[in-house]
């Protein structure tokens, strides 16, 4: 270029002064190496076309690789689809609950091959449609990530073939050598299991079956063996009893079969159906239970007083019956007039009364039997001919086994789903002794304190995966069936025992159960119904042996500063076998409303004397110093006897260590676990053996304050039905009319609830707006009977399962951010020296004039044409204005992203319900998904939705049938009838929010003058 011209062209002075330097050739700007002579290109070169080609390739390949999907999962459709399985449609199987030994009937909802919800079986002869909180929550146990997925040999994964061949081989050798084989199980309620165990053990020359339970019925069995010659637990019929007396038996909460008992008890307390036959219920108890809280007459007694109170009652009745009884009881007792009145009532209701006793003392139970016998209740309200259960009359079997183990004389120990290391007072001794056994086989479904000692762990199915049967009493047997394919490589214990038996016959659990019943039951019908009636009387009826009756010898009373210890099963946690279930840990206790903890309950007076406040950690030591002290937080409990310290069992379970991650992690978040790395403290160490039975109460303990504190997470504070006295203006009613109650006498006379100060000045002045939002089709509503609601909280857990309500952990509950859509408000009230408890389930009230709806800026909450208050999660931006403006405070906000990381547990999620994200509001929908399901079904059949077709989750689970849902526009519907009742009221009616949920006032069988005074 420079050669081309002699002229110099310059653009600037700088350039000219530099001399002539050519600018780079514009067209060759990408050239990295100048062209060599001859036009040949050298080195790296890139032409425009090449560049574009390369760029295109890179872009294309990047795009393609970015588009790659997750690994392909092949979903092969059925070639011929099974008739019953329609994706998205639930199938229901009848079964029997295996969460405890009560044997409640249930219906399992199965969606797309997995069980997602268990509900009560309405046709069931025992449970009558209810299902308790523990049963409701047990479905999560199926998807427990701690379950073993395969058998273990010395802690290593093994196959069934290897384990079976080795176990069988060793058992065969033992059969020949006459070695000692011991089988340790919990209470066996299954006839098939008993049969299989007997068949299995028969083949060994030296074999023994040992049953034990932390909450055993051995005292009842022992008493009946002595009085009737039968070691049985009778079948109790509370529905047939006009007078019910409970002695330390929490039959509505935890005792034996609370669902069945609640169903029976509530039948006698339908105030609208029949006020004449409204039952009378008196309860003597040391701590406050849901049963005592519902009683018409509740008397707080110390465990040591139980004997004298029962002696007194027995002697008063014996006088009337003309039977001899060796004692008169303490007639100077302050409760003497009450007992006298009660004796008169009981005598009047001979054959229609029921006296139950929860004591572990055989002598006490004998007196209870004596009372029932004198009243002619056997054959009427108690059935021993077709008993609830048969059982061991002694709790010492496990201790004998311990001694055998310690002496090294046990060659093989088979442990079936029990954990003595955890739940027996001398668990540590067990731990050492089990190691002495030659062969330890466990069928536990997980590694626990006991199964970790086993050579072979042969995991059992979850009860929802296996066949089984349960004795129900009253001539019924319940059946379990697998509702889904086993999740893991587990095997029913029935099958395992059958394989290891002498014959070596491999029979399935189904075959074994079927074999037991043969032609006795119509198999297909029995499986369809979940239960069957069997004709034979299981136990021959027996005559009462008066000779066995002796007055109860009064136990010594605690001396000085000592208190009587009462260990009890909590409504949610029972014996601790479900300690891995977060739903149960987060279920507020019906009485204390505390979650995620156990505690030492101390009466107000005693706490005052000892200077103990709720949350102080106290050391509880047995007076005889037999076992080490335990330390746990104290809780000051109204209405408890002042000589009692009550501690819940089932806590401090090693399994609860898993909840370390529960709840959101953030700067000020606190752990769910206590200082011991567990939830609560194991109180089993304080259990004691006396006279052959395992005692829960009566031991003397001393209690000392430590200087540590541990705050208890409580959903509700104490002392709060009334507004504080210091904030009352003259003439202002301290008690707010949330719960309205009356006495039976007043209700019989008036047919309405008494008026209260809060509605006096509120008249219905009509609406400012035209009534242009009429409910022309359905108008959904609910009525909740507070007379029969016991506060058992089955509905709370049922709602949680149905609606995918997250678990938030202890700290979040302490911050009053529990997510439960349905809560049970608990209030106390005082009446003539005794304390009542009042429970009120509160969910979204679905107001027709809903204050939440008008304030939402984005219309995320709106009203349906059928009166439902609907929440649109994905529209919600989370201003929380709706929650602030809700007079009932039933709205729940997602403060954090609550973990749904356990993919296995997520299988229990209801696919019909959205899992809510952080920052949105949620609340009760009155189970709109169930309404829609019923609507679709009705539409297909071309008929309107019939009353009773829709049952909300809470209603379904309620053992007392206290919750009724239906169409308020249909005058014939059950809910409409209840609304017309004189007991019906709506909360905060005077605010004119027009709630669709109403309540039926609480009626107690009291005289009119016994007007309760409510305290703060």
């Amino acid at each position: 270029m420079s050669d081309n011209s002699s002229k110099e062209y310059w653009k600037s002075l700088e350039r000219r002064s530099d001399g002539v330097r050519p600018l780079p050739v514009a067209g060759d700007e990408f050239a990295s190496v100048p062209d060599a002579p001859g036009g040949e290109r050298k080195g790296v070169e890139l032409r425009r076309r090449d560049f574009l080609a390369a760029a295109g390739f890179v872009l294309g390949s990047a795009t393609l690789s970015g588009c790659a999907r997750a690994p392909v999962e092949k979903a092969i459709p059925y070639l011929v689809a099974p008739e019953t399985i329609v994706p998205g449609r639930a199938t229901y199987y009848a079964s029997t609950c295996g969460a405890c030994s009560a044997g409640c009937g249930m219906v399992v909802k199965n969606r797309d091959g997995r069980a997602i919800k268990v509900e009560g079986n309405a046709e069931h002869p025992v449970s009558h449609g209810g299902l308790c909180a523990v049963g409701q929550a047990s479905v999560l146990g199926l998807y427990d990530s701690h379950r073993l997925e395969h058998p273990l040999q010395d802690g290593q994964e093994a196959t069934w073939e290897v384990v079976d061949s080795e176990v069988t081989h060793r058992f065969d050798a033992m059969r020949k050598s006459g070695a000692a084989v011991r089988l340790l199980t919990g209470t066996v309620t299954s006839p098939t299991k008993r049969r299989v165990i007997q068949a299995f053990l028969k083949s060994f020359p030296n074999a023994k079956h040992i049953e034990y339970a932390m909450l055993s019925t051995s005292a009842i069995c022992g008493a009946h063996r002595k009085t009737h010659g039968q070691s049985v637990v009778p079948r109790y019929s509370f529905d047939k009893a006009a007078v019910i007396v409970g002695f330390d038996a929490d039959f509505l909460g935890t005792w034996l079969s609370p669902v069945a008992f609640t169903a029976g008890w509530s039948k006698g307390r339908r105030a609208d159906v029949d006020t004449k036959n409204f039952s009378y219920h008196a309860q003597f108890e040391s701590r406050l239970t849901v049963t005592g809280g519902k009683a018409d007459r509740r008397v707080a007694i110390a465990p040591a007083q139980l004997g004298s109170v029962m002696n007194r009652l027995a002697s008063l009745l014996a006088t009337r019956a003309g039977v001899a009884f060796g004692a008169t009881g303490d007639d100077t007792d302050v409760h003497a007039p009450v007992i006298e009145g009660l004796a008169a009532r009981l005598w009047h209701a001979r054959g229609k009364s029921l006296v139950v006793c929860g004591s572990q003392d055989v002598a006490t139970q004998i007196v209870c039997n004596f009372i029932n016998h004198m009243l002619g209740n056997y054959g009427a309200t108690l059935d021993i001919a077709r008993p609830f259960a048969e059982g061991e009359a002694s709790d010492t079997g496990a201790q004998e086994l311990l001694r055998e183990l310690q002496s090294g004389s046990v060659d093989a120990l088979i442990i079936d789903n029990v954990d003595p290391v955890y739940d027996l007072p001398n668990g540590a001794e067990f731990e050492a002794a089990i190691k002495q056994a030659g062969l330890v086989v466990s069928v536990a479904d997980r590694i626990n304190d006991t199964s970790k000692l086993a050579t072979y762990v042969c995991p059992d199915h979850h009860y929802l995966e296996s066949w089984g049967d349960v004795t129900l009493g009253g001539g019924f047997v319940g059946f379990q069936q697998p509702v889904m394919r086993a999740l893991f490589d587990t095997r029913s214990v029935l099958e395992s025992l059958s394989i290891w038996s002498a014959s070596g016959s491999h029979k399935s659990d189904q075959a074994l159960v079927r074999e037991t019943w043969g032609d006795q039951v119509a198999w297909n019908m029995a499986i369809h119904d979940g239960f069957a009636r069997i004709s034979e009387l299981r136990v021959a009826s027996a005559t009462f042996r008066n000779a066995a009756v002796k007055p109860i010898v009064d136990a010594g009373r605690p001396s000085g500063q000592e208190l009587a210890l009462v260990l009890y099963p909590k409504v949610a946690m029972r014996d601790g076998r479900h300690a891995s279930n977060p739903w149960l840990h987060e279920m507020p206790d019906p009485i204390t409303k505390v979650v995620w903890d156990n505690y030492a309950s101390i009466a107000e007076d005693t706490a005052g004397k000892l200077g103990i406040e709720t949350g102080d950690v106290v050391r509880v030591t047995l007076a005889d110093g037999k076992s080490p002290a335990i330390e746990l937080p104290a809780l000051v409990q109204p209405a408890q006897h002042d000589q009692v310290v009550a501690i819940a069992l089932g806590y401090g379970h090693p399994e609860s260590a898993r909840f370390k991650q529960v709840g959101p992690a953030w700067l000020e978040g606190k752990p769910t676990l206590g200082d011991n790395g567990l939830v609560g403290t194991n109180a089993a160490k304080l259990l004691t053996y006396r006279d052959g039975t395992l005692r829960l109460s009566g031991e003397h303990v001393s209690i000392a304050k430590t200087n540590r504190t541990h705050s208890l997470a409580c959903t509700q504070d104490y002392h709060n039905i009334e507004i504080p006295a210091s904030l009352v203006l003259p003439g202002m009613d301290r008690r707010r009319p949330m719960i309205q109650e009356t006495t039976l006498a007043a209700y019989e006379r008036d047919g309405t609830l008494p008026s209260h100060g809060y509605d006096a000045h509120h008249k219905d002045l009509g609406d400012l707006w035209p009534d242009d939002h009429k409910y022309e089709g359905y108008h959904w509503g609910m009525a909740i009977d507070l007379t029969t609601c016991t506060g058992c909280s089955a509905c709370v857990v049922s709602c949680q399962v149905e609606n995918n309500v997250p678990v938030v952990g202890r700290d979040e509950v302490a911050r009053k951010r529990i997510m439960h859509w349905l809560r049970i408000d608990r209030y106390y009230s005082d009446s003539e020296g005794t304390t009542d408890i009042l429970h009120q389930p509160v969910m979204c009230q679905h107001c027709d004039n809903a204050p939440c709806e008008t304030v939402c800026p984005v219309l995320a909450t709106a009203h349906s044409e059928e009166g439902l208050n609907m929440q649109t999660y994905n529209r919600c931006v989370g201003t929380r204005y709706c929650a602030n403006n809700c007079p009932y405070k039933v709205r729940r906000f997602n403060w954090f992203d609550y973990a749904h990381e356990d993919t296995l547990a997520n299988m229990a999620l209801n696919p019909d319900i959205t899992v809510r994200t952080r920052g949105v509001m949620e609340k009760c929908s009155l189970c709109v998904q169930r309404i829609e399901e019923a609507r679709i079904e009705a539409k297909k059949q071309g008929i309107p939705i019939a009353d009773g077709d829709i049952k909300t989750a809470c209603q379904q689970s309620c053992p007392a049938g206290s919750i009724v849902f239906g169409d308020m526009n249909d005058p014939k519907s059950a809910v409409s009838k209840l609304i017309k009742s004189g007991r019906h009221y709506r909360m905060l009616e005077e605010t004119n929010v027009k709630p669709s949920v109403g309540y039926l006032g609480l009626v107690r069988n009291r005289d009119e003058n016994e007007d309760p005074t409510h305290h703060g």
């Binding site: 709060n720 529209r875 405070k889």
Partner: protein
Amino acid sequence: MASMPSTIHSPLILGDKNPSDVTNDICASVERGPSLSWWVAISISSSMLLLGLISVAYQIMTGIGTWGLNNTVGWAFDITNFVFWVGIGHAGTLISAVLFLFRQKWRTSVNRAAEAMTIIAVMCAGIFPLIHMGRPWLAHWMAPYPNTRGPLWINFRSPLVWDFFAISTYFTISFVFWYVGMIPDLATLRDRLKAGWRKTTAGFLSLGWNGSFRTWLHYETVYLLLAGLATPLVLSVHTIVSWDFATSVIPGWHTTLLPPYFVAGAIFSGMSMVLTLMLIARKTMRLEDYITEQHVGAMCKMLIATGGMVAMAYLTEFVTALYSNSPYEQFAFMNRAFGPFSWAYWIMVGCNILSPQILWFKRARSNMLVVFVVTIFINIGMWFERFVIIVTSLHRDYLPSNWTGYSPTWIEIATLVGSFGLFLTLFLMFCRFIPVIAMAEVKGVLSHGRKNQ
């Protein structure tokens, strides 16, 4: 000055300034480099802002659960701060528009700063409705705009939507008013600054102002019209904010008293904050001649007046509750004064009712330290007023089973500190880059060149 019979005849600006002095004095702070004290102040305020930003970022990442709220108390610090800042933002428009229409000439010394404070305070306020949402990334759903979500629209019955309009309208009008009032001064700056980006910016923003008669005529007309437009907003904004509470069913919120109560309270708090800031600016920026004891005295009198209205409202609340015969309402107020949060209530009463009473005395009004302390008390008291209204009403409403407490987390406290950081940082920037006193207006009230003076 004490010998003067009335303020009408006393000079508003001291030191016998001529217009040129005014220009020089006021432009000085813009033209000279930032002082050491300014650097110290902005480092503190921006650190506070940073703390607030970190806490807001953490809260948005983690969730509203990082606040101390619960199922019963759904609002606390967030809406308290919001109402507090909106209240602060009331003084500007009042001083500029209302006092302009009432021909209160003393306003000229403080209106620019008061308006700036208004705008900054409204910005601080605006943050809280945004971050208090569970899902702030969807905040745009609060605005009615054509969207693809079918017929889904906002809920015009919700006071939060009214709020959205009220606050955005107020901010827009206040901003325009502030800017229009600044045009002559920007032109002055443009003419004085050396070539550079600041001169260019000032030139651009002064919209070709040439000081001609026509320009002044247009300016005055627009200013008058805007003042007329802004005046109703003084009443409307806090009225609408109060409807957030008044239209609810919660005892303690549900009362027709709230709109006048809130407006009076807002003016009270706004005036107090203007005084706080002006007293500092007066000292540090050497503007004693422009912001005189007479100005401070006039604003103190407004404090006494509005404080009296607020006291009246506090009293009326109780009388209404007593007269209502509603036990819930009566309890709400008993609980407010004697319940667990009574300390907050009595802080509020002490700061808002008792502390301004000292301003009845002229000696107190002329003691700048006393006035400063009183305004700080009022600022604190007015924050607590909103806290009391929100938290004590919510924490114990109808059902005793729901009664809870409330205590803030560090995140909430840091967010409050952060909002003060934002406020102070922006105000310091304002002092640095914009003439803090409306020069053109002050020149109109000078005594210079007037006969008989």
